[in-house]
């Protein structure tokens, strides 16, 4: 038996959405990788312990200023959102509270993972304390460059997606 789940990568320009996808799907990192235009869709088959297979289809969207400005058709049928920000650029997580509220209000059934990327560029203290002060707890800090935290993120996502 195969279960299909649609996972959408969201976040501002240059936060590393495509790099996270490439690290997870191909275990590679390219510093000069081109920015995403529109959407790139990739698939990964995951064997689950109960013998079923999870077909995780990852929609890697181009960067945008806000989730509310993302084309609605791109988000149709989503099972999970991975909202990525860059820990080294406060600009990319400054409005995370509003973004989270928007996602929870308009997509109440969609699993949401908030992910701080680029931890290889510095510590996560500033982002953590800023977000904690606004009541947001970040579960996943990762580095697409080194691969740190990527497997954990997708394992945790898989667990949330299977019934």
């Amino acid at each position: 038996m195969e279960i299909t789940k649609k996972v959408v990568l969201l976040g501002r320009y240059g936060v590393g959405k495509s790099s996270i996808a490439r690290r997870y799907l191909l275990d590679i990192f390219e510093k000069d990788y081109l920015p995403t235009l529109g959407v790139q869709i990739k698939k990964k088959i995951i064997d689950l312990p109960n013998g079923t297979q999870l077909s995780m289809i990852i929609w890697d969207l181009e960067g945008f200023a806000s989730v509310s400005k993302t084309r609605a058709s791109y988000l149709l049928g989503s099972n999970a959102f991975i909202y990525v920000f860059d820990v080294s650029r406060p600009f990319t997580y400054g409005g995370l509270g509003e973004e989270l509220n928007y996602m929870k209000t308009h997509f109440p059934l969609v699993e949401i993972k908030l992910v701080g990327n680029k931890i290889d560029l510095g510590d996560t203290e500033e982002a953590s304390s800023h977000l904690k002060a606004t009541g947001i707890q970040i579960e996943h800090f990762v580095s697409a460059k080194t691969g740190e935290g990527i497997q954990n993120l997708f394992q945790s996502l898989t667990k949330s997606l299977i019934p």
């Binding site: 299909t4 649609k6 320009y13 240059g14 081109l34 920015p35 235009l37 529109g38 959407v39 790139q40 869709i41 990739k42 698939k43 077909s55 289809i57 929609w59 181009e62 084309r71 058709s73 791109y74 149709l76 049928g77 650029r89 600009f91």
Partner: protein, 200 residues
């Protein structure tokens, strides 16, 4: 006219499929498809929307997906996709805008680079401002809390030394004065070091 038809017909593909994904028609102008293919197996794009397409969920009259990078049966193209829910079948229209989007890719790369440089510049300015404010704060603390206080202590010791003191007391005050003097000098050196720009 016929040339125009050829130009457009090569860039637009129309596919019809039953809601279960069975293909009933394909103009095959962009991607070579077989009637035995199933729409939902052609590309993860269609697979991820199978439930919605089968059940007509979220599709009013039509749905548009611009700039989707597709690869089907060994052929790659960047397409705008329009999906229409007709009576009993899905009409999928693919518009091949690969060349247009490839050009945009270069422009987007430039835009991204300039945007990131701009942010880097802003952060550097912010860092400099914060550093300047911090150094100013440290200098003021050194001046008011340490250097001035120590100068006052030395002044008081000098006043005390003018009073009647035993030789032991005088010696003790000399030692204290010397120690405070060396702390005072060290504090002044630290204050001078704060004026040095380590980043330059």
């Amino acid at each position: 006219m016929s040339e125009q038809n050829t130009f457009f017909s090569k860039r637009i593909q129309e596919i019809h499929a039953k809601p279960n994904g069975e293909l009933t028609h394909s103009s095959n102008s962009i991607f070579p498809l077989k009637m035995s293919d199933n729409l939902y197996k052609l590309h993860p794009f269609f697979e991820s929307l199978e439930y919605e397409f089968r059940n007509g969920i979220g599709i009013q009259s039509s749905l548009a997906f611009p700039c989707v990078q597709l690869e089907m049966n060994g052929k790659e193209a960047i397409c705008d996709i329009t999906i229409k829910m007709e009576r009993g079948f899905l009409a999928v229209l693919l518009f091949d805008y690969s060349k247009h989007y490839e050009h945009l890719h270069e422009a987007a790369q430039e835009k991204k680079s300039s945007m990131l440089s701009e942010q880097e510049h802003e952060l550097r300015l912010k860092h400099l401002e914060e550093k300047k404010a911090y150094l100013g704060f440290m200098r003021a603390r050194l001046d008011n809390s340490l250097i001035v206080e120590m100068e006052e202590m030395v002044h008081k010791i000098q006043l005390l030394k003018k009073t009647d003191l035993t030789p032991e007391q005088r010696e003790l005050f000399d030692d204290v004065e010397k120690t405070i003097g060396s702390f005072h000098l060290r504090a002044i050196q630290i204050r001078e070091e704060l004026n040095f720009d380590f980043d330059s």
